[in-house]
Subunit: 271 residues, 2 copies
């Protein structure tokens, strides 16, 4: 079950949001090949129970390991919040989540020591970010808020729409009142709302996108374990994308995130 340095990196998400993480990994680690799995037949994970999200995540991790990946990046905040420790116990390959890298970036960014976190209902309810933030700096003040409408708004393509602005004003009001100076975008869809969120919150609030940090963490872990792809080896066969539902829809929506890096998508039924 051990995979060598030339093996691909497995990345998964409940759907297409994790492509923001895949994108950052491709930018940071140009020699690496990625196998991406989007669970589009069962998306979203955000409103679902920890048990169900854990079950789905275990199935996907099993699929990726069977594909021979050398590491797994859980590119979904809800899956990281509910399933990371389970996956780390179950598999020999390193399993990297998005929560800790995001928390670390927020701790580095805040000056006031007051950090905000937004995410799906499941991520926020899990308290995973609070725990990760306080583990890094116990004195930190954290204000968290679930924003369940942001994912459907992004998927509707309304990333610069008055409705989304109005929703953002309502959701972010407690964070504005609390005067946080760094806000973790705790869902992989949210970076697509960066411009609008910055407009609502003002320039004084740093927006933390976990994707970048997670790519850096992935790079660090591969280096530590001697699993970096050799610089000479150009990606053979390119990246591969799997979805559990209609590949065409994945392709269309996915290109909004990744551009034409996605050449084709295969269907893999799970569950």
């Amino acid at each position: 079950m051990t995979a060598g340095s030339s093996a691909p990196i497995g990345v998964f998400d409940s759907g297409i949001g994790g492509l923001t993480v895949a994108h950052a990994i491709i930018q940071h680690l140009p020699n690496e090949r990625i196998i991406y799995f989007g669970d589009t037949a069962r998306v979203p994970y955000g409103p679902k129970s920890p048990d169900t999200v854990r079950r789905y995540s275990r199935e996907i991790a099993g699929f990726l390991v069977a594909q021979g990946v050398k590491t797994i990046v859980v590119a979904c905040n809800t899956a990281t919040a509910h399933a990371l420790p389970t996956l780390q116990e179950e598999w020999e390959v390193p399993v990297i989540g998005v929560v800790e890298p995001g928390a670390r970036a927020a701790v580095n960014a805040t000056r006031s020591g007051h950090v905000g976190v937004i995410g799906t209902a499941g991520t926020i309810k899990s308290g995973a970010y609070e725990r990760a933030l306080r583990a890094l700096r116990p004195s930190l003040r954290v204000t968290a808020r679930a924003c369940p409408l942001f994912v459907p708004l992004v998927e509707e393509g309304w990333v610069d729409h008055d409705v989304t602005r109005m929703v953002a004003r309502e959701y972010l009001e407690p964070l504005r009142e609390a005067e946080v100076d760094a806000l973790v975008l705790g869902c992989t869809h949210y970076p697509l709302l960066k411009t609008l969120l910055a407009e609502v919150l003002g320039d004084d609030v740093r927006l933390i996108d976990s994707a970048e940090e997670t790519a850096r963490e992935t790079s660090r872990i591969l280096r530590e374990r001697g699993l970096e792809a050799p610089a000479s080896a150009a990606p053979v066969g390119g990246h591969r994308f799997f979805a559990s539902d209609d590949p065409l829809q994945f392709l269309q929506l996915g290109q909004r995130f990744l551009g034409d890096v996605i050449e084709g998508v295969q269907v893999q039924t799970l569950g």
Copy 2:
């Protein structure tokens, strides 16, 4: 595989929306017992492909038949649109969908002969309502519009919120321009937006809620087949509710639809 008149009626939906149909059946047929299945672990069906929705629907129908139901009501517009003929072929028990009853009510309600239909992306894309409406009256003019944000807005509880009003104005604009005088609420969540939709569209547009019509159709089919529960037999053991994800969440959201008819919810993992 044949069930007698004292057997329960199986009702299923992608989640909790179908409870509006269950509610209407309970009102119309007080002697009947219901077994309801909400596929909350894989909700929503609206944006998913016909194949996936068909696969899920077949699994649930199999579960209901194994529980000994005498008929199956597909209380989900997307599942009806994609899976009804398949289920009707596969099972001996009558399988009733929500599309045809809704279409019939709209044909009866319209004076101008111009009908609107709103639903999920999957339902609208399938063209199921257009086909059902034109089969009943070929001269009918039909204007259809997908409204993907309505379900998340209802589930957020924003049924009387300015954001929802703004979304409704945008979604319904083509229907107002087309001057439809009857609008099919082609998704079981939408009846919860009735007041707001009436406000946006004005009093001249009749809003068609398939739930009522579907209950009437169920009553008619049970009578035709001699499957009505005997009037003397008070429901034994009451109704039963199954969800594929967290029962507590189903209970909380479900009570918004059905009140305290829901006493408890059992988990049934599928897929």
